[in-house]
Amino acid sequence: MLERLGHTVEFPLQQTCCGQMHYNTGYHREAVPLVRRFVEMFRDAEAVCVPSASCVAMMREHYVMMAEAENDPAFLSEVRSLLPRIFEFSELLVDRLGIEDVGAEFAHSVTYHPSCHSLRMLHIYDAPIKLLRQVRGLDLIELPNREQCCGFGGTFAVKNADVSVAMLTEKQSCIIETKAEVVTALDNSCLMQIYGGLHRSGSPVRTLHIAEILAATSNPPHKPTSKGVGSGIEGYGLQPVHSERNELGALAPEGKAE
């Protein structure tokens, strides 16, 4: 999708993890080398696109604090220099690039779950909604009680599995109430939780990261309409969209795991 918009995308294969899992679970010491590694990997990037709001929250909320605690001025100044160039995926598109129409087509009903970190730590409210509204054929349905947590919470999901699932059950019934075919979010971690519950209960509702929806095109792709958009490179969107939802797997291509 980014290439369709005319951008050059690099994926440094040396990257691993931003350190969030370790840090949030209390393994602060263990997270430091991961943060150092992340900063080293991306120090020269013009913009870092992070398709996970909770990872961005980890970077913005904790990287400076961690670098300060390390008492390493060079590390700290690298962190400070890198942070303004880090963007959550929808932030990059809407706030940094000024694009709302990415030329996507996705003829399905979709409901959007604002993940806690995107909402309360990154303060992302409208950007994903604006992007989804411009997708051709997409019917956006509001999720009731949408600001309530899905119950994932990283290691919380296994340490407090029973409570996590009780929270998930509430989220699931709100999603099912919308009758949407797809639930989307800015965080694959929340979507993993939501998928886990929906699939176990036999619900046909699919989970897709917002990038998967925005990458979907008809063939040939629509020309994006917003200003500042380069000529489209051949899209690698979803397979031609199906409207039937009688079998699981009809909507999404083979998932790509990170």
């Binding site: 990257q15 691993t16 263990e30 991961l34 919470g153 407090n160 176990r200 083979e254 790509k256």
Partner: protein
């Protein structure tokens, strides 16, 4: 010195206590309903305040300043309180506070006391201490009375009987007040409580209260409440004993301007509390003839040295974080094993006791941030939870069993794998091969070990045969000229 917080030392860990709570459908229904109602009322009352964020900033600044200079303000409070005719006693811990209270009650030949709702007295377990000494305490806050009569524990900081509905209250009143024909009509229930309580207000000579604020500048004390029963206890007895945590002091009378706007809106969704009682020492012919303050430390001052931990003491006990918390919403307060439940309890209870008890509480949160968003004094609860998790992990790692614990080994393993791309890819390959053993119809449904807690309730997609990294690599090499 022994710091005690309620019954935390014998409480079950949160995950197992929560499991029991989750099975109680009636409790969950009551908690869902009550927190929804208060949460919505709060939202309405906050929305109408254009300067809400400025008020939060002001409250946070006042508390930060006070806690940084706590010694000065406590001494100022003591001086001014005693100038006005009060007497201040200092208690290092729960036992000291209880014995001061007992000595005072004996000094005035009391055999029973009436109490204003005070969480601090539950913290030090004052009621059992009084009963043990042959003194009968009567809770007069309606909800606290329900908790006391039902031999129950408070499940919420502000509305301690939130887990009970009126049918349950009817049954408790029928039994303890000997009113077999009582119905669940709210008018009848409050009528029964009123008759029962008025008798105590008129006859009992000693009152015990907590405090919402202690004002250094005037030596005055402030209690806010909704029922007026508190006002009765504060004004009718001959002797008033106020048990006050040291963090409750504020510098000036005019600081109440900020807090009395924030507290009722955050706590009960009211613009103002129906009863705001403020008093200073004693006055001839008006109110109690003797006024005693017990200033309680019980672990609080240990939090002062660390800037982040200190923030915890800014809490004004509004309970907004409980009502906003999606975890509390499912479990109610009892699962926390502490009278301080919900997000604030999860940071306060373990810290007061130097992490000796309530060690599972910092993990009783998804870090969703709903608590921080509603906190009227801007306590960054998620950040403090993470900080405390760090302390728990470091302490655990210092022991052999902690070092060899499944979680620590898994985390060390992950940290190693994340340190280089080749190890990371190797680990991914290993999982790709290993997961085959647990794959059924394209899903992982029965994983071993810690991951089993996931698959017990939820499905998991296996890592696909071609990972994103594999796909990216093949894409790069197949590009004409290998351009990026």
């Amino acid at each position: 010195m022994s710091v005690r917080v309620g019954k935390t030392s014998t409480a079950a860990e949160f995950p197992s206590a929560a499991k029991i709570a989750l099975k109680n459908d009636q409790l969950r229904k009551n908690v869902h309903h009550a927190t929804n109602v208060i949460r919505n009322k709060r939202a309405l009352r906050v929305e109408e305040m254009p300067d809400w964020q400025l008020l939060r900033d002001a409250a946070s600044a006042i508390k930060a300043h006070t806690l940084k200079n706590l010694d000065t303000y406590l001494i100022e409070f003591e001086r001014n309180c005693e100038l006005a005719g009060g007497k201040v006693h200092w208690a290092r811990d729960a036992d000291e506070a209880n014995s001061i209270a007992l000595d005072l009650i004996r000094q005035y030949n009391g055999t029973e006391v009436i109490k204003v709702k005070t969480m601090t007295s539950d913290e030090i377990q004052l009621n059992p201490a009084l009963e043990h000494a042959g003194i009968t305490p009567y809770e007069t806050d309606l909800a606290d009375m329900i908790v006391q009569m039902g031999n129950d524990e408070p499940s919420h900081i502000v509305v301690p009987a939130l887990h009970r509905n009126r049918f349950e209250v009817r049954d408790i009143f029928r039994e303890t007040m000997d009113l077999p024909d009582l119905t669940e009509q709210p008018e009848e229930l409050t009528g029964a409580a009123r008759t029962y309580l008025r008798e105590r207000f008129l006859n009992v000579k000693i009152g015990i209260s907590g405090a919402n604020f202690a004002i250094a500048e005037t030596g005055g004390v402030c209690v806010v409440e909704s029922e007026g029963n508190g006002r009765m206890c504060l004004t009718m007895p001959d002797v008033l004993i106020s048990l006050i945590g040291v963090e409750k002091v504020i510098p000036r009378f005019e600081d109440l301007d900020v807090f009395l706007q924030l507290l009722p809106r955050s706590a009960t969704g009211e613009r103002m509390n129906p009863y705001n009682s403020l008093w200073c020492g004693v006055h001839e012919g008006d109110g109690p003839k003797a006024f005693h303050v017990i200033l309680l430390d019980n672990g609080r001052t240990k939090l002062l040295h660390d800037e982040m931990e200190r923030e915890t003491l800014a809490c004004i006990r509004c309970g907004a974080c409980l009502n906003a918390c999606p975890v509390y919403r499912e479990t109610g307060g009892h699962a926390y094993g502490s009278i301080y439940s919900g997000p604030i309890g999860a940071i306060l209870s373990p810290q007061l006791q130097s992490l000796e008890h309530s060690r599972s509480l910092p993990y009783a949160s998804t870090l969703c941030g709903a608590c921080y968003e509603v906190c009227p004094v801007k306590i960054n609860i998620p950040e403090i939870l993470i900080h405390l998790r760090g302390r728990v992990v470091r302490e655990d790692q210092a022991t052999l069993s902690g070092k060899l614990g499944v979680e620590n080994l898994a985390m060390q393993g992950a940290a190693m794998a994340f340190k280089s791309e080749s190890r990371y890819e190797a680990a991914q390959k290993l999982v790709q091969i290993g997961q085959g053993l647990f794959e059924r119809n394209g899903q992982l449904t029965n994983l071993p070990g810690m991951a089993g807690a996931w698959t017990k309730f939820r499905d998991l997609k296996p890592i696909p045969k071609q990972s994103f990294r594999d796909w990216w690599k093949s894409r790069e090499t197949s590009k004409p000229g290998g351009e990026a």
